[in-house]
Subunit: 475 residues, 2 copies
């Protein structure tokens, strides 16, 4: 496919510029010679150069060719993560988390703070049409309460989708929930009591840390690698040292790192859980949003005896306002069901029916194909913009799926201050402070790249960069 060829070629050239093969001012190979060397058409080379020009890497000089205009600025690589395992700690209360949540629905052109999908992809119209049709038919009303287990048709779809991730459970082993947050909350209520210690990856999505605190639990932070996620060695040490009750981890395209635990590590984590009789709460909310290749395996795929509680939702793939999620709680089924019943009796039926319908009609899969491509391109554009506008000192993660990128700044900078300064400019970012229970990431921040790049959004990234630069100067 032509599309992929020229994009690949552009990637290769950018990598060469980044790697110093061509420096600022250097002339790049002519279109003809490149076409010959790479064995692609002239059109493909022209398209690749057009992308490079578009993104500000090269300058076209009439009759002379393409010249490198800027070299690497932001380093794409591994932001450092916590290097030592923290002691178990109560998560401190953070008004900030609530504020970030509250402001999640402001103008999308200036909003980078929440991990919200692009809600203008064509799935939006599909959801709306399905909703209208089911409403008109009177589906999901007039039947009293939905069962606490949740709508069967949805559980059936979830069971079918699970297979791609190596999850083999029947619809009767699944309980629907109000999104993944609620699935994890029910899971924690089922397997812990206040005071218990939960192992989480570090950095970790703040919604989970806040939950742990509100439930009176303690979190122990296990350092995560920006590419392979939760460190198995650190986890091993922690489990030996502390009476850990459960491991909670975002197994695939984690938030905020965008990293995925490799299969052999997933297996190792399960082995560790078996040896120490722990349970694993798996947050797989980004599992189907890979940029390339097949959908990664879940931890649940390695579960030998029902100790993995697999949690997910359609908040990142359809619309978070639906609040549709699920859990396959393994051996903890009864207690999770009981927690759902006592918390809210049953979930609203209509959003479940809509989700089941969209999935069963194949519209969900069609959407995922489109979304994966869009998010891949937008993540690259995010990094390009960061390279163009952020200070040299910036380190950025390169996600392979999901919706967010994680940025590291020099240790002397406080990204909570960046958050406030951006807020004054009506731009929202997620400050790193939120992602740790022990203040590890004050010089980090997270940006969402899911929305289409518009001049306004690009300008917002520039403003973030300008703010960062002025903070660097004044420190």
């Amino acid at each position: 496919m032509e599309t992929l060829l020229y994009a690949q070629l552009a990637d290769t050239l950018i990598a060469q510029i980044r790697g110093g093969v061509y420096k600022v001012g250097d002339r790049l190979p002519s279109v003809r010679s490149l076409s010959k060397r790479e064995q692609v058409s002239i059109a493909t080379v022209n398209s690749a150069y057009a992308i490079l020009e578009e993104r500000g890497w090269v300058e076209a000089r009439p009759k002379s060719g393409y010249f490198v205009q800027r070299a690497q600025s932001v380093q794409i690589g591994k932001p450092r993560t916590g290097e030592v395992t923290s002691k178990p700690r109560a998560v401190s209360t953070k008004e900030l988390a609530l504020e970030v949540q509250r402001e999640a629905s402001i103008t999308r052109s200036r909003n980078f703070s929440c991990a919200i999908p692009d809600l203008q992809l064509s799935i939006a119209a599909v959801i709306q049409k399905t909703l209208t049709r089911l409403s008109r038919q009177g589906t999901a009303l007039g039947q009293g309460y939905d069962s606490t287990e949740g709508l069967f048709e949805l559980r059936q779809q979830v069971a079918r989708r699970g297979i791609d991730g190596g999850v083999h459970v029947s619809p009767d082993a699944i309980i629907t929930t109000l999104g993944a947050q609620n699935a994890i909350s029910l899971a924690l209520r089922a397997v812990t009591k206040p005071g218990d210690i939960i192992a989480v990856e570090s950095p970790c999505y703040f919604g989970l840390l806040q939950m742990i605190e509100a439930m009176g639990l303690k979190a122990i932070e296990i350092p995560a690698d920006a590419e392979t996620g939760m460190s198995v060695d650190a986890l091993k040490l922690a489990v030996q040292q502390w009476p850990i009750k459960a491991i909670l981890c975002i197994s695939t395209f984690s938030n905020p790192l965008g990293c995925t635990i490799p299969d052999n590590h997933k297996q190792a984590i399960v082995n560790l859980a078996v040896r120490h009789d722990l349970c694993i709460i798996e947050d797989d909310i980004y599992g189907e949003l890979q940029f390339d290749g097949p959908r990664p395996k879940t931890i649940k795929a390695f579960d030998p005896d029902g100790r993995v509680l697999w949690c997910s939702s359609v908040s990142k793939t359809m619309d978070p306002q639906l609040r549709v999620g699920w859990i396959a709680p393994g051996r903890y089924y009864d207690e999770v069901l009981r927690q759902k019943y006592t918390n809210y009796l049953a979930a609203p039926s209509l959003p479940q029916a809509v989700t089941a319908e969209v999935m069963s009609k194949g519209l969900y899969d069609r959407h995922l194909r489109q979304a994966r491509l869009a998010y891949k391109q937008r993540s690259e554009q995010m990094l390009d913009l960061a390279e163009r506008y952020f200070p040299q000192e910036t380190l950025a993660s390169r996600p392979k799926g999901g919706l967010v990128t994680w940025f590291e700044m020099p240790r002397r900078l406080d990204m909570t201050e960046l958050y406030h300064q951006c807020r004054d400019l009506d731009i929202r970012i997620a400050p790193g402070e939120l992602f740790s229970v022990s203040g590890l990431y004050r010089n980090y921040f997270r940006l969402n790249y899911a929305n289409e790049w518009t001049p306004a959004r690009e300008q917002a990234v520039q403003s973030i960069g300008d703010t960062l630069k002025s903070m660097l100067v004044s420190r």
Copy 2:
């Protein structure tokens, strides 16, 4: 209004028959003489007699007049409630509660077990139309997460409706929830920690008892009078004797008794709470379903300092599948909001938008007028049927609002057995066992009268009666 006159006259005559003024076989006054005595039209008397005949109280003998066919069988009055306050106890786990919930949506003609409203009243069409219209307009989608506080338009409507119950709070003091169950669950999480003791009325809706258990709390049962609800004296004693943390009560048209705490008792309970620095969680879910007169005051109306957490929902007035409820948590606002955030981030938007729309258009009030009349008549019909078909020994509550009646049988009978025997007949009742933490009500059961009386439903009541009679004989 003619309607009310003849219904009133029928009531009077039934009361006279019950009171023994006319015995079985007696001839009732002629139409003409009754018309004169009661100063009503001939048509009114004819209608009243038609009702009596319809309900099986009298027999019309051509040319001779109306003769009493049956006298009182079931005693309408006060089923006994727990007479002594129990010690604090863990609520024992009951599979039964989950089973009752799971089977809540079986054929309505044979279902008396759940407190579900009549879902065929005209509000159903209103909800469906509104839902379809809002879906078509794309309301409540595509905006990321709803705020954790909940949809403003709904909070505004709730604030306005509250005024009738003496609740004066701004929309900003209200948080939307997933029904009343969830409101109460968030309230308990905000004000208690595991091991704490909660005072509940006895008998008490089992969903609340199950919640208390699942949260690791203890319940202390305060006897409730079948007409005036939670005993203030017993509560006073309990509060002096035990370190009670919160009072949880269904203040108006309670479930299962149908009783309402009088205003002076509401005031006394608040005074007690102030003196002992307790908080009060008020479940006001039936507050707007009075049969006659104005809407009763809430406990919140007497709240001097924000210690009452007012909870309610539209599950009994619109459709429980919407899962729309709310809480006005007073001084516990921050902690309740935090609990909602960590439990499920935000509620689904569409059901909230639909509810706000139906309320703001005046359609909710119009529906309530219809529903109150329907439920009043159906509750009377329930008692009439019980009188006709249930054993003489039956005692029944006479609710003045809400959806359920509470029946007491001789102590030697086990209504959990009735539940199972009825279940074999594909009829559902709610066994009394569920309504206590200390086994107080095994000889009681609860029936829902909300649905229209059809021959099939009447026959189901007869079957329940037959089962009861055969249980009496065999014991």
